[in-house]
Point group: C2
Chain length 356, copies 2
DNA sequence: TTGTATGCGTTATCAG
DNA sequence: CTGATAACGCATACAA
C-alpha cells in the first residue's frame, strides 16, 4: 500500500523523500529544521547530512509560509520607480532606517515601486508579505486600493494622510511655516516657494492657486498652507508669492525651479524649497546667474540630508530614519501608537541672511 | 455530503467561500483571477464584485506560489548591511540597474543583506524567490553555501569569482593596472594604493604583503595584482608601494586612508584608490593638509560615479547599471552568455598630473 | 521522542 | 465555457 511518499524517486527532493530514505517520518525531518529541540542532536545531524547528500534544499518557503500563515517579509511601497528612489537621499535615508529594523529581525524587505499602474497593482496583489509600509503615496493612488484589499497591517509614512491608516510623519504645515517665517523674520518680503510635486502627473512649472487647491500630495498641500499662514501673519500677500513645482526630487529639477524663480522681475530675495535636493538646484541656479548667497538671495531647504551641512544650507531637519524605525516597529511587533508625528527643527546655517 | 468547502463560514475568506457564495466552482473563481479568458466577462465581473463585498483579498500568494512553483521575485544578496549599502553610490547604481529590469517585468525584488551570519543564512533559506543575484560577496562566505543549497538560478556580480557560477564583472586586474599605469606614465615614482577591503573582517589600516596574499575579495586581489604588474613594467619596486585598506566604502574610510598615506615620509606623489568614494576621502585629507591637487598629489578613483565628474576626479569608468542589467536579464529570462566581462575605461580628469 | 492524519489555498488536468 | 479531482510541500494536534 504505497502512500504518497513512495513517489519521491522521480520528482524533486522533499521532506518525504528524505524521510523515506532515512526510514523516519516526515514529522521528524520537519522537526529537524523547524523544532530542533524535538529530536536528539544525533538524529538531527544524521538528517541534515542526508539532506546534504540527497540535495534537499530545506523546507520549501511557499509551502512553509502557506502552512504557517506568515510570509516573513514586509512590503515597501514606494512612490517612485526604484531607479529614481535610490537616487533621492531622503528616500535612501528612509530605506536605511527600514532596513536597520527588518534586518536584525530576520524579516525580508520586498520592494514594490509604483511604476506602471497595472504591474504595480499586480505586484502588490501577489506580494508574499505580512504587512505593508506605504511611503509618500499621493491621495487616491490605485496602489492604496490594492494594498487595502490585502487586509494586512499597513502603515503610512508621510502620505497619504487621508486614508485613516496608522501614520507616521511630521507636522508639515508647522515645519514649512517655520521655514517661511525664518526668512520673513530676516526681513525678506519678496519671497518665493520651490514646491515639491503637487499632483502625481509629473508637472514641472508654475503652480497657480487652482493647482495648489487641487493638490493630491497632502504634505505639499500642508506645507503650502503653512507658508500661506506665515505670509498672512507677516502681512505679505500670498497671491503675490510665486510658487513653482518640481518633480522628481532631484538636482536637475531644483535647477530648473531656481532658474524660473530667479529669472523673475522683480527677483525674489528669498526662496523656500520643499527639499534640500531642490534647494541645491536652486543654489546652482544662483551661481549660474552670478548671485551671491545669502547676500543676493537666501535659500532654505527641507530634510537636512547629509549634504546640507556640507553645503551650509539652512533647512528644516526631519529624520527619515526615525520615521522608518517607527514604521518598522509597528509592522514588526505591532508596537507604538497608531499614529505619530515626529519632531522637526529649523537649522539655521549660512544660506540665509537679511536682504541686501 | 458536505465537502470541505462548507467550512467557509467561520474562517477566513478563500476561493471556496466565494465559490459557495456564488454557487460556482472554485475553478471558475480561480479563473476569474488567473485566466480571465476562460470565462465570460460578465461572470468575471460578478465574481470580482462578490469578492469585493465578501472581502476576499485575492489568491493567497503563498498558496499560488506553491501550486505554480514560482515565487515571482528574485533575491539580491548584498555584502553589506542594508543601511550601509544604500549609502554607497556604486551599490546604489547597481540597485538602480536591477530595479530597472525587475520592475517592468513585474518581478519583486527581495533584499537580503549579510548582517549577522545566522540570520542571513536563515533569510536566504526562507526567501520566496526564483533566483539569486550575489553582489560583491567575499570568497567562502557562508551565504554562498546557503544560496547554493537552494538549487536555484544564481548569478554573481563582481565577486566571488571562484564559485564556478555565471558571472558578470569587469577585468579588474587590467582596469586597475591601467589606473596605475596612468600615474606612472605621468612620471610618478612614489605612488601608493588606497585599497578597498581585502578580507571580510572590517580591518582598516595597512595591508602588508601577507595580508594581500590572503585576500578573500577577488576583485581587490586582482586589482592589487594589476598594480603590481604596472609597477613591474615601470621598474618601480612593488615592495616599496604602501597599500592601505579601507572598509566600508564610504567617505570617512577614504579620509582615514588619505591621512595615513599622506602622512608618510616621503609622501607619495600619487594615490590610486579602488573606489571614487575612497578617492573623495583622500582628496579631503589632502585639503586638510593644505596640499594642492594635482600639483602636490595626484589622485585616481575607480567606478566613475556621478560625483566623480563634479569633483573633476580621474577614474576608471565601469557601469554598475550595465552589470545589473546583464545579471537581471540572465535571471529573468535566462538569456546571455554564462559569464561576461563588461568594458571599463580610464577617464582622465583634473585630479592627476605630472609630479611637481 | 517519534509517527499518523489532516488541511493550509491554490491551480492544472481533464472531462463534460 | 464550467466543474470535479488531485496534487503542491509542509507543520501541527494528537496518539503511540
Amino acid at each position: 500500500m504505497p502512500k504518497d511518499g513512495e513517489r519521491g524517486a522521480g520528482g524533486r527532493v522533499t521532506l518525504q523523500t528524505l524521510a523515506d530514505h532515512l526510514g523516519v517520518s516526515r514529522t521528524t525531518v520537519s522537526n529537524a529544521y523547524s523544532r530542533p529541540d524535538q529530536l536528539t542532536a544525533k538524529l538531527r545531524r544524521r538528517i541534515l547530512k542526508a539532506a546534504e547528500e540527497l540535495g534537499y534544499p530545506g523546507p520549501h518557503p511557499a509551502a512553509r509560509s502557506l502552512r504557517r500563515g506568515r510570509a516573513g517579509a514586509i512590503g515597501l511601497v514606494l512612490t517612485e520607480t526604484l531607479p529614481y528612489a535610490f537616487g533621492d537621499p531622503y528616500a535612501v535615508n528612509f530605506l536605511q532606517g527600514i532596513a536597520a529594523a527588518t534586518e536584525p529581525a530576520g524579516v525580508g524587505l520586498l520592494l514594490l515601486p509604483l511604476s506602471r499602474e497595472d504591474t504595480t497593482a499586480e505586484a502588490i496583489t501577489g506580494a508574499a508579505v505580512d504587512g505593508f509600509c506605504l511611503f509618500s503615496l499621493p491621495d487616491g493612488h490605485p496602489a492604496l486600493t490594492a494594498v487595502l484589499r490585502r487586509r494586512l497591517p499597513v502603515i503610512v509614512v508621510d502620505e497619504p494622510r487621508s486614508a485613516g491608516l496608522p501614520y507616521v510623519g511630521i507636522d508639515d504645515r508647522a515645519a514649512f511655516r517655520s521655514a517661511t517665517e525664518h526668512v520673513l523674520d530676516l526681513g525678506h518680503r519678496r519671497i518665493a516657494v520651490a514646491a515639491y510635486r503637487v499632483r502625481f502627473d509629473g508637472h514641472d512649472g508654475w503652480a497657480d492657486s487652482a493647482r495648489q487647491a487641487g493638490a493630491t500630495f497632502p504634505a505639499t498641500r500642508e506645507r503650502l498652507a503653512g507658508a500661506r499662514e506665515a505670509c498672512g501673519r507677516a502681512g505679505v500677500d500670498w497671491g503675490s508669492v510665486p510658487v513653482t513645482e518640481s518633480a522628481p526630487n532631484e538636482h536637475e529639477s531644483g535647477l530648473r525651479a531656481g532658474r524660473r524663480l530667479l529669472g523673475l522681475d522683480p527677483r525674489p530675495t528669498a526662496i523656500v524649497a520643499m527639499s534640500d535636493v531642490l534647494a541645491f538646484g536652486v543654489l546652482e541656479a544662483a551661481r549660474e546667474l552670478g548671485l551671491r548667497v545669502p547676500e543676493n538671495v537666501s535659500v532654505v531647504g527641507f530634510d537636512d540630508v547629509a549634504a546640507a551641512a556640507a553645503a551650509d544650507l539652512t533647512t528644516i531637519r526631519q529624520s527619515g530614519k526615525e520615521k522608518a524605525a517607527t514604521a518598522a516597529r509597528y509592522l514588526l511587533i505591532g508596537e507604538g501608537p497608531e499614529s505619530v508625528l515626529l519632531p522637526h527643527e529649523l537649522v539655521v546655517r549660512g544660506s540665509t541672511g537679511p536682504p541686501a
